[in-house]
């Protein structure tokens, strides 16, 4: 009888422990998903802004068709991305195309004086910042979640319920990481 109670107590404590770990993992996974949706909102915003920006610039930048097309193509590619890793890669390329475009803009004072363009540029640079900050927040969450999955004892529970590691949102190209210096 005594042994039975001891076993029962152990089972209950163990079950409580597993439930607690499981709930922690679920919460962390949801936080990762939430952090990703933050990035996603900003990426969509970036995609929405680009056509307007190109449209405004077109009238002024007649000789820069290549640069403009590069941005448009990169945008199309980024919009077709299917998972985090693919998205990170194509968004990195889009970022490169955009910074090249913004560098070219410096040679067009008329365009830079255009109120509409200035407003769009502020929106775009803010969106770039938001992407960067949301990425930081997302990667922090992913690191925390992946650590939990790999570390003992939560790794046992993670294995039991099939929790898999999340991908980091890393920008591959080193050139993208440092913003080009613009001098006036």
């Amino acid at each position: 009888m005594g042994a039975l109670i001891v076993v029962l107590v152990i089972v209950v404590v163990l079950a409580g422990f597993i439930i607690g770990l499981y709930n922690t993992l679920v919460r962390l996974r949801n936080q990762v998903a939430n952090a990703w949706s933050q990035i996603d909102v900003q990426l969509k915003r970036r995609h929405d802004l680009i056509p307007n920006l190109i449209e405004t610039a077109k009238g002024y930048m007649v000789h820069e068709r290549e640069t403009l097309e590069a941005v448009t193509n990169a945008r199309a590619q980024a919009m077709g991305a299917k998972n985090v890793a693919e998205s990170a890669k194509s968004e990195g390329l889009l970022g490169q195309a955009l910074s090249k475009f913004l560098l070219t803009v410096e040679a067009y004072p008329d365009l830079k004086a255009n109120q509409n363009f200035l407003a769009l540029q502020e929106e775009l640079s803010s969106t770039e910042n938001k992407i960067a900050f949301a990425r930081q927040a997302y990667n922090d969450q992913v690191l925390f979640f992946n650590n939990k999955i790999q570390m003992f004892p939560s790794n046992i529970v993670a294995g039991m319920f099939n929790f898999t590691k999340s991908d980091f949102f890393e920008i591959e190209d080193a050139a993208e990481r440092d913003v080009p210096k613009v001098s006036f």
């Binding site: 952090a35 502020e122 929106e123 938001k130 969450q141 440092d178 913003v179």
Partner: protein, 406 residues
């Protein structure tokens, strides 16, 4: 995540200062009670009234304190079209701090300053002056907003509100007592003196003098304690701001610009002063620099920020030790759980044009008050008042008619 929670929890020194302030409040209640009737009961009653007054004021300030504070500072809630960049920057910092978007206010004042208020992140507001918006570039504005966002993140506002209300209560009680004494001794001096001559008058007079001295000194002491409390939180918010933006220079150069200002902020007062990013109260013609006591010396804050090798809390802590030779204001638990953070590169730098700046400040003030601008084909910029009824406006220079969109 984890790190912020630890900073939030680590308030031992701040609580100690709050308890000391409560002691000052109790003492002033007790001595004034004793001064009127020399009976321990009166002293106790004085304490009860003083603490009761504080509790009532805390309840009031929790119910609508942020609104009262915003109204007292003449802050106007604004929509994104008034200043898109400010909105964007606040949104960016909210994302970086993983907080809900706070409400945004602009204070119609040419002195550069900013504050955050609200009991919880859900009810938080950030207010900046028009003067700040006109003077700072994007990186600097981001630094200031990040500093305010750190206050929200660290739950400093709740704490500063408790202490601020306590300071307010002490000031109020002392003020009422001193005023009462002044007028009663002027108006009915004879009655007053005749009463103090009656039984036990000598002891009563001594108590009265102690009470008078206490009423003069208590607000000063409470102010010093309050400032000590707010200084710690300021350093911590600087560190948090640098980490959020990953660009300490932005905040450093913003503080530098703010410190060059010589105009005091008209809407600030002694109690609200510690809520601002830099002390808003300095005398006309004096530089807002190391003389301040609500806030750590600005030059020191700038020195620490500029000495940072990275953007993490550990970097701030090291820079702090190097620049000031004091012990670090960062809790050890936050240092341990923080990882290395690199500094990002600067955004674009605009050349400073003083004339244009003051025009910008003016425009922001007009816009905050609901005016909007319309540029005529001849180049004249017209201000359309918020209650403008007609849908067309005639240009006073060239006579062209323009449509008004509302």
């Amino acid at each position: 995540m984890l790190m912020w929670e630890q900073i939030r929890a680590n308030k031992r020194n701040s609580i100690l200062l709050l308890v000391l302030m409560a002691a000052v409040l109790s003492f002033i209640g007790w001595i004034i009670g004793m001064a009127f009737v020399s009976d321990p009961m009166a002293g106790t009653l004085g304490i009860v009234i003083a603490i009761g007054l504080w509790i009532i004021m805390v309840i009031v300030s929790f119910a609508g304190g942020d609104q009262i504070f915003l109204a007292a500072s003449k802050a106007v809630p604004v929509t994104k079209n008034v200043h898109p960049q400010l909105f964007n920057v606040v949104e960016e910092m909210a994302i970086a701090a993983q907080l809900p978007m706070p409400k945004v206010y602009i204070i119609v004042d040419p002195a550069p300053n900013a504050f955050a208020t609200g009991r919880s992140p859900q009810t938080a507001s950030i207010a900046v002056t028009a003067g700040l918006l006109g003077r700072l570039n994007r990186d600097e504005l981001q630094g200031v907003v990040a500093h305010e966002m750190s206050h929200i993140l660290h739950r400093d506002i709740l704490f500063v509100t408790l202490a601020g209300v306590m300071l307010g209560t002490i000031t109020l009680i002392s003020h009422v007592f001193l005023r009462g004494m002044f007028y009663s001794s002027m108006g009915s001096g004879r009655r007053y003196s005749s009463r103090s001559n009656s039984g036990g008058g000598q002891a009563q007079l001594v108590l009265m003098i102690i009470a008078l001295i206490a009423a003069i000194l208590a607000p000063l002491m409470a102010t010093l304690l309050y400032f000590a409390l707010s200084r710690r939180r300021e350093y911590l918010a600087d560190a948090g701001g640098a980490r959020l933006t990953r660009y300490p220079e932005g905040l450093a150069s913003a503080l530098e610009k703010i410190s060059q200002n010589t105009k005091p902020l008209a809407v600030a007062n002694k109690v609200t002063a510690p809520m601002y990013i830099a002390n808003p109260l300095q005398e006309e013609g004096m530089k807002l620099s190391d003389m301040t006591s609500t806030h750590p010396p600005i030059s020191e804050r700038i020195k620490v920020l500029r000495a940072m090798a990275g953007a993490s809390f550990a970097d701030y802590s090291n820079a702090f030790r190097k620049a000031t030779n004091h012990s670090t204001p960062i809790p050890a638990s936050a240092l341990k759980s923080d990882e290395a953070v690199d500094i990002r590169q600067a955004g674009e730098k605009k050349a400073v044009d003083v004339k244009r700046q003051s025009r910008d400040v003016g425009d922001i003030m007009w816009r905050t008050n609901g005016y909007h601008f319309l540029t005529c084909a001849c180049g004249l910029k017209m201000k359309i008042p918020p209650n403008f009824k007609s849908d067309k406006v005639k240009c006073p220079r060239c006579g062209r008619i323009s449509a008004v969109q509302s």
